[in-house]
Amino acid sequence: MSEHNHNTKSNDPAPAFTPALRKQIEGFLTRYETKRSAILPALHAIQDELGWIADEHVEILDKEFGLHRVQVREALTFYSAYRQKKPRQFNIQFCNNIVCCMLGANDVIGKIKGHIKKFEEKGKESPFSVEGVPCMCVCDGAPAMLVNKDRHLNVTKENIDSILEKYASLKSGV
């Protein structure tokens, strides 16, 4: 179902921690009853700030922030939210659970994949990537998807193109 692959690692260079990110992580270390609770928020912060989480980042969490690397890696690989490779500009998480599936999610996913393929055929990298994800719990708006952090409801074969176009036009501005 999900194409989330935790073992796929990136060859991209790991982006460096910004001072703001460091400060944020330091805040997590003392915010909860135990330091270990900072692992999930720290990984979220890294991903939000840098796009993905590299092994080097885990090692920094260990060496500089005292979060045990084995424990960090356990969390990193257990939870599907965390990415271990650099994402494309727009990562689409498309729900393909029961209701979305019934209402045509797989057709829309197919269409998005076709869109991505068109770029690749031209030898270019699409700004989009797509993965099927478990129920997003907005089933009254099925089929549903997230483009990065934007939620889209009632996504169909008919309206997907215009949604993608809107994002693609943002690309040059970023």
């Binding site: 935790h6 073992n7 092994d55 045990h68 690397r69 084995v70 424990q71 890696r73 356990e74 690989t77 257990f78």
Partner: protein, 500 residues
């Protein structure tokens, strides 16, 4: 004294201390409840879901490992429901297991195999392709990890967390993609890693040292005490009597060591195999020609040399602390009591840090019986302290020196250097296991000895507790003798030759 509870186990009343789990109680009663993740030396994980038992009056089966026995509880391990649960639990464990028993070292002592015979014996319903995972991973000096064979019982992870407190292992990813491992590129470094091989109920962790050496069903194990340091861990020595060879040591539950032993101790078999042992006695004739001899020949030579001097002044004894208390007693009874020798010295390692301790088991005194030796010296009326060392022997101007070497040369970094030193003396009789002693042309006299698994006796550990050696293997070296036997032979020789 402490509170007890009485419950029924398969219809029999069983009384145990309050707080005892059904699993623990069943073990006391020799009732086998199949299990993988439970281990007496680790916390309860309750994840393999194998140890299902029926508790009368409860709707679902319960896991015995997390079930405290209470008064009046009626537990059955062999109802049809429980038996079916055991069979299915095993099937679930095996559907993604590679079933590569023919090339797996664990075969013969594998939980999956054993339980298949005792609670399984089903026709597998798994007809789909299996989940594939990384194999042959190098995760430590003595560890080879096959994550495909792993059943994710988490014993190894708990060992790392709870026993060595190193936390080097984790379970990464989730569901049936979950994989045991170290942090990428890192290895387990500590001195207790082979315990992971022992506690792994399947062939996921195998020992690099033992790998592909021998099928376990050809091995015979006998209880012994590890000679590697003054902790005196209870161990089982695994040997193959037909070929008079040794393969490994494993911990046996004991007061000194609980369930574990260290990796240094694991190697306390490698000095016992014939390739490194002194296999024949050695003497040197009047013309200075070295020749191999038998035990009687070596005794005769030594007997003559002692008879030719005044033992009280001309014989010195250099004794290491790796032999049994019984041996020391016969040694001193004869040499000190009968011959009246005064020059008794200890062979200690100059670099030893005798009080060092790693917090778990391994101690800086790499002798199994320092306490036993000191006790024996004291009883013989001799100086019983650790200061009375080897250099004194060298300068004691003795005409005959008997050097009883440490049994395990590897625990003495200065072993070879000390031998060099001794060979400079006029006449030294080496009583030893080490073949390297006779390799040097300057060695004039040597008698092969038995190793710790080949004799009976006692080691007194660092806290004064006795560890017993009492089920000897046959000695791989025909002429190998323990100290008591050598002394008895010398005594016999002297009697029959009229000297006292």
């Amino acid at each position: 004294m402490s509170e007890t509870v009485t419950f029924k186990l398969n219809g029999k009343d069983v009384t145990v201390p309050k707080g005892t789990t059904v699993m623990e109680a069943a073990r006391r009663e020799n009732v086998d409840i199949p299990h993988f993740c439970w281990h007496p030396g680790l916390s309860v994980a309750g994840v393999c879901r194998f140890c299902m038992v029926k508790v009368e009056g409860r709707p679902k089966l319960e896991i015995a490992c997390n079930l405290q026995a209470t008064n009046g509880m009626d537990v059955k391990t062999d109802t049809d429901e429980a038996k079916s649960a055991h069979k299915w639990a095993l099937e679930f464990h095996l559907i993604n297991h590679p079933l590569d028993c023919p090339i797996c070292d664990q075969a013969g002592e594998c939980g999956l195999q054993d339980y298949y015979m005792s609670v399984g014996k089903y026709q597998s319903q798994m007809t789909r392709p299996k989940v594939l995972k990384p194999k042959m991973l190098d995760v430590g000096r003595d560890l080879v990890l096959d994550t495909e064979r792993c059943i994710l019982c988490s014993r190894c992870v708990r060992f790392e967390e709870e026993v060595t407190k190193t936390g080097a292992l984790g379970i990464f990813d989730r569901g049936d993609r979950a994989i045991i491992g170290t942090y990428p590129g890192e290895k387990i470094e500590h001195n207790y890693q082979t315990n992971l091989v022992d506690i792994c109920p399947v062939g996921a962790f195998t020992s690099r040292d033992f790998r592909f050496k021998q099928r376990v069903w050809f091995l015979k194990d006998k209880p012994a005490v590890c000679p590697g340091c003054s902790t005196g861990c209870s161990v089982d020595v695994y040997g193959k009597p037909e070929t008079r060879s040794y393969f490994r040591l494993k911990p046996r539950k004991g007061e000194a060591n609980g369930h574990w032993m260290c990796d240094k101790g694991r190697h306390m078999y490698s000095h016992l195999n014939q390739d490194v042992r002194l296999r024949t006695a050695l003497t040197t004739d009047a013309q200075g020609r070295r020749k191999d001899t038998n035990f009687a020949g070596a005794i005769e030579d030594l007997g003559k040399r002692i008879a030719a001097v005044n033992p009280a002044t001309d014989v010195a004894l250099l004794v290491s602390a790796q032999h049994t208390s019984e041996e020391y007693k016969s040694l001193f009874d004869f040499f000190v009591g009968e011959l009246g020798i005064k020059k008794v010295f200890q062979w200690r390692e100059p670099t030893e840090k005798i009080d060092a301790f790693d917090g778990l088991l391994y101690r800086g005194d790499h002798n199994a019986n320092t306490r036993g030796l000191l006790n024996a010296l004291k009883e013989a009326g001799l100086a019983a302290n650790l200061k009375n060392e080897f250099d004194a022997a060298a300068s004691s101007a003795a005409k005959v020196v008997i050097a009883i070497t440490p049994e395990v040369p590897t625990t003495f970094p200065s072993f070879e250097q000390q031998l060099e030193h001794l060979r400079e003396l006029d006449f030294v009789s080496f009583w030893t296991l080490a073949g390297s002693v006779a390799d040097n042309k300057k060695t004039k006299h040597a008698i092969p000895m038995k190793g710790f698994p080949e004799k009976k006796g006692t080691f007194i550990n660092h806290e004064g507790k006795a560890g017993k050696l009492d089920s000897p293997f046959p000695c791989p070296v025909a002429d190998g003798r323990d100290l008591t036997e050598i002394v008895a032979a010398l005594k016999q020789w002297r009697h029959s030759h009229g000297s006292r």
